[in-house]
Symmetry: C3
Subunit: 403 residues, 3 copies
Amino acid sequence: MILYFIFVKYGGEDDHNIRGFEDTHVMIFIGFGFLMTFLKKYCYSALGFNWFLAALVIQWALLCQSFYHMKDNTIFITKKLLLEADIMSATVLITFGAVLGVASGLQLLFIAIVETAVACFNFWLVADVFKAADVGGSIAIHAFGAYFGLGVSLLLKPRKTKTENAENTATVDLNGPSYTSDVTAMIGSIFLWIYWPSFNSALTNSNSEYQRAVVNTYLSLAAATVTTFVLSSAVSKHHGKLDMVHVQNSTLAGGVAVGSVCNMHITAGGAIAIGIGAGLLSVLGYRYLTPLLTRVGLPDTCGVHNLHGMPGVYSGILTVLFAALATKEQYGVELGGVFEAMKEDGSARTAGSQALNQFLALLVTLAISLVSGAMTGYIARAPVLEPLKDNEEYNDEINWELP
Amino acid sequence: MILYFIFVKYGGEDDHNIRGFEDTHVMIFIGFGFLMTFLKKYCYSALGFNWFLAALVIQWALLCQSFYHMKDNTIFITKKLLLEADIMSATVLITFGAVLGVASGLQLLFIAIVETAVACFNFWLVADVFKAADVGGSIAIHAFGAYFGLGVSLLLKPRKTKTENAENTATVDLNGPSYTSDVTAMIGSIFLWIYWPSFNSALTNSNSEYQRAVVNTYLSLAAATVTTFVLSSAVSKHHGKLDMVHVQNSTLAGGVAVGSVCNMHITAGGAIAIGIGAGLLSVLGYRYLTPLLTRVGLPDTCGVHNLHGMPGVYSGILTVLFAALATKEQYGVELGGVFEAMKEDGSARTAGSQALNQFLALLVTLAISLVSGAMTGYIARAPVLEPLKDNEEYNDEINWELP
Amino acid sequence: MILYFIFVKYGGEDDHNIRGFEDTHVMIFIGFGFLMTFLKKYCYSALGFNWFLAALVIQWALLCQSFYHMKDNTIFITKKLLLEADIMSATVLITFGAVLGVASGLQLLFIAIVETAVACFNFWLVADVFKAADVGGSIAIHAFGAYFGLGVSLLLKPRKTKTENAENTATVDLNGPSYTSDVTAMIGSIFLWIYWPSFNSALTNSNSEYQRAVVNTYLSLAAATVTTFVLSSAVSKHHGKLDMVHVQNSTLAGGVAVGSVCNMHITAGGAIAIGIGAGLLSVLGYRYLTPLLTRVGLPDTCGVHNLHGMPGVYSGILTVLFAALATKEQYGVELGGVFEAMKEDGSARTAGSQALNQFLALLVTLAISLVSGAMTGYIARAPVLEPLKDNEEYNDEINWELP
C-alpha cells in the first residue's frame, strides 16, 4: 500500500480499450483455480490458495514489472498494466501446480513473492534485452513457471530412504481424484481452453496480428484436443479407456505450444501441425515421463512439466525456427511482432541474429528458472514456513475449517 | 491438416472485431458440455465427448462451410469463419443430446462427421438458395440438429420386444440425475441462457439490428424462464413441486423460439409473447410428449425435441408469419436482415414470395434432417462402430479410467 | 406482457456498444446463483429461485425504472436499459440471500415484486433528486438490498420463545455447507470477483472514468482478498484455520466498498486502503456480529450485512468524504461522475452541498430500505404465501422433485 501511494498514478486514456482483460481474468481465477480441484480432499486449498496467491501476486507484479519502465519514479497505472500483472500471476500459479498439496501455505507465500521478482527480471531480459518474440508468453511465463516449479519440487523436501516411502501409504491415497472433483476440474480446464485465444492475442498490436493470433491458437487447441483423445485411448493400459488427466491437461498444450509464434504467419495448417505435436508430447509425457520423474524424486502433482514445461520449450524452439527462416521482406511485416521491438532503437537484425536471440532467451529462461527455483525450494524448508509432514499432504484438513 | 495446408489462407482484417465469438465459445464448450452432465454416471463422457466432438467438428465444419464460398480454391480464414464453425458445431452437440448415453464413442464420431457435411449443405440451401431469414439459426441449426438426432435415435438400436424391455431394469437406473450432477448441469444451463443473446445476435450486420436481436432474445428468455417455473409447478405430479429437467431446459426454449425472428421488428411485447409460448411448448413437451416418444421407440435422453426441435419449428413458422405480414416499405428496413440477401442480386421479392421461401426452408430442413439422420443411425449399427450393449448404457465405466 | 405491448418501443442505436452487459449478466445468474449453493440441501432452490427471481425482476424493473424517464408515455428499450434492469435485480438477490432457506417460494415472489418497485423509487431519489455519486451502486443497490433484507428477516417469522428454539435442532443441521456445496459456491464467488470491475464501471461515461473505475475496483478487490485470508486465519478458533464463509464473501467486500467512489481520483494507494478496510469490516462482521444478530432474532443466512450492508454504508461515507474534500477545479473534472449530473441543469453545487446530498442519499436509502423491508416481511407472514414451518427450512424437499 505504501509503495502504491508513493509510486503509482493513473495512466493515460490510451489503453482503456485493450482486448482480453476479462477473459484472462477468468483463466487465472476460474481456470487455474478449478483445474487444480481435481484432488479429492484438496479442493478448498486449490481454490483458496490460487485466489490468495493470484490476488497478492497481481499487486506485487504490477510494481516489479513497472520498476523497469518507470518515468520520473512514477508508475502510470492502466488497464494494460493490470492485464500484464494478471499474465505474470500465471507463472506463480503454474509453479503452485507442481507442488500442489505438498507445500504449506507459508511456503507458497514465500515462493510466490520470490518467484514474482525473479520472473519479472527474466521477463525483462526476454522482452527488452533479447527482444525475443514471445507474444503468448510460452517462454517467459509457461516454461519459466514450470521449470521454477520443478526446481522447487526437487529441493522442497529432504530426500527419503526407500523404507520411508514404503511406510507412507495413507497419504498417497489422497493424491488422486474423486468422481466429483474430476468434474469440477473440468470447469477450470474448459474455461482455460475457451479463453486461451484471448490470452495469446491480448498483447498483439495490430488487428491483423490479433486475428492471426486468435485463429492460430484456436486451431492449435482444437488439433491438440482431438490428438489427446485419440492418443489417450491408444496408450491406455485398459482396453482403450480415456484418462481424465490427459483430457484435463493435454488438450491445453496446444495453446502453450503455439503461444510464442501464434502472431506469425505460420499458416492454418502449420497451427494444426503444432497442435498435434503438442498433444503427442503432452500425453506421452503424462503417461511415461511423470511417473519416472516422481520415482527419481521430482514429484509434479499437476504434471505442469507436460502442460507448460515441454510445450513451452517446444514453442521456444519454434520461434528460433521461424525467425531463422524469415526472409528479409518479412521483417516487421510477415512475422508479426517479432521484429517490432527492433524498430524502436533502429538497429535492424538479420534473421540469423534474431534466431540466436530467441535461442538465448529460451536458454536463459530455463537456466534462471531451474536454479532460482531450486534455491527457493531449499530455503523454503525452513521450519518457520511450517513445512508439511508426510501425513498432512494433499489434505484440506490442515488449513481449513471443514464441514 | 493436409486440407488446411492446401486450401486455407489468412483472411483480411475486416472481421477482427466481430461480436459474440468468446460468448458463443462458452456456450458450446461449457454450456452444452455441462448441461449434459445431469446423468449421475455419465459426466465424464458428457464433458469429454462434447469437447472432442466440438473440437473436431469445428475444424471439419470450417472446411465444409467454406467449400460453398471459395474463391480461386482458397479459403480465407477469419475470426468470423471460426465463429460460424462454432455455431455449426452446436448442431452436432444437439444431436449428441438426443442419443446421450446410448451411442458409443465411435458411433458418435461417425455421426458427427456425416452430420456436419449434411448440415453444411442444408445451411447453404437455407441461406443461399432460399435466402431465408434465420439469424439465430433456429431453423438450420436447432431444428436440424434435433430432428437429425431423432432420426438417429429411431434407427440406432434394433427394436426390442416388450419382454426384453422389462428385463432390463438395471440400466434404467443410470438414466437419471444425482443431486450433484443436477447442480453441475445448471452451470451449463445458466451459461447457455446468459450468452444466448450473443449467439442470436452474432451474425447481425448493423448496430440497430444487433440491438434488436439482443433485446428480443433477452426478453424472450426471461419470459420463457418465468413461464417454465410457473408451469413446471402447475403440471407436477407431487403437490406443485418443480422439476429440474424443466428448469434446466425449458428456460432456454425462449432463445430458440425467438432465434429466427429476433432481428426483426417484433416489438418487446411480441418477444415476451414468443417466450411465453416457448416455455409452454417445452414444459408440456417434457411432461407429456417425451415419455410417449420413448414408449414408441424414440428415446431422447436430453429431450432435445422439446428444447431445440419444437421451438425451432415454432421459430420457423414465425418467420413465415412475419415475412407474410411485411409491408412494402418494410423490405430491408423494418424486417432486419430478412431482405438483406436480396439486395445483392437485385431481385426484390414480394412479402408472399419471401414467406413461401421461409416455409420451404423449414420444410426442406425437416425432411433432410430426419431422413439423413435415420440413415446415419441405421448405418451406425455396424459392429465396427462398437454399439453399446443395453447394460453398458449411460455409464462412464466403458470409456473412462474411473477413480 | 400487456404493459410491454403498450409502452415499450425499440430505442435508438446509441447504446448498442455499452460495456459490461454480458459480464454483469454472468454476475447475476452465475455469480449470485452459485454463491448461494453453499447450503448442503438447498442448491436447487438457490439456483432455481435466483434464476426465477432475476428473470422476473428484470422485466418488472425495466418498467419501474423507466417510469421515471418516459417520453410521450413510451419507453425506448435499449441494451443499456437491460443492463440497468440487470443491476437492479441484484438488489432483490441480495435480499434473497438474507432470508435464504427461510422464505417460501411465494414469499420470495411477493418480496421481489414489492422490493423492485420501492428500490426503483429509491434509486430515482438517489440519482435524480439528490444527484448523488453512486456509480457502482453501493448505496442504492448493495446497502438498499441488504437492509431491506434485514428488515424482512426481522419480521418474517413470529418471535420464538427460548424453549421453542431449543427444541428445534434438526433444522439447524441443514443450515450449513457440505464439502461439495462449498466448492460449487466458489464458482459463484469467483465469477462475482472477476466481473466486479465490469459491474462498477458499466455506467461510466468517459474512457478515463471507465479506466479509473476498473483499476480502483480491481485493486480494492485484490487488497480485500489478501486481507480476508490473513484475518480469517488470525481470528480463527482452531489454530489459524481458514473459514470458507469468509473466503467466499469477504473477498468481495472490496468491490462493494469502492463501488460509489471507484470512478473518482482516489489514487491506487487509496483503492488498496479501501479494500483493506472492507476486508477487515467484513471478516470481523462474519466472525462476531452475525452470530450476535442471529441470537437477537435477526438471522442473515448469507451474511449479506457483512458483504453488502456495512461495506455499502462504508462506501457511502467515503463519497461524503471525497465530495467534501473536492477543490473547486476538481468539479466535474477530477471527481469523475460526481458533478456530472449538475451540469445538466446548470446549478453548480459547492463541495459542502454535494457532501450533504451524498449524506442524505445514504440516510434516506437506509431508512426506506429498513422500514419498507420490515413492512414487507410482516405482510409476507400471510398464510396465503405459504410460510415455511421450522422443519421445512433450508430444504429443497419442499419445492423440488429430488432424485
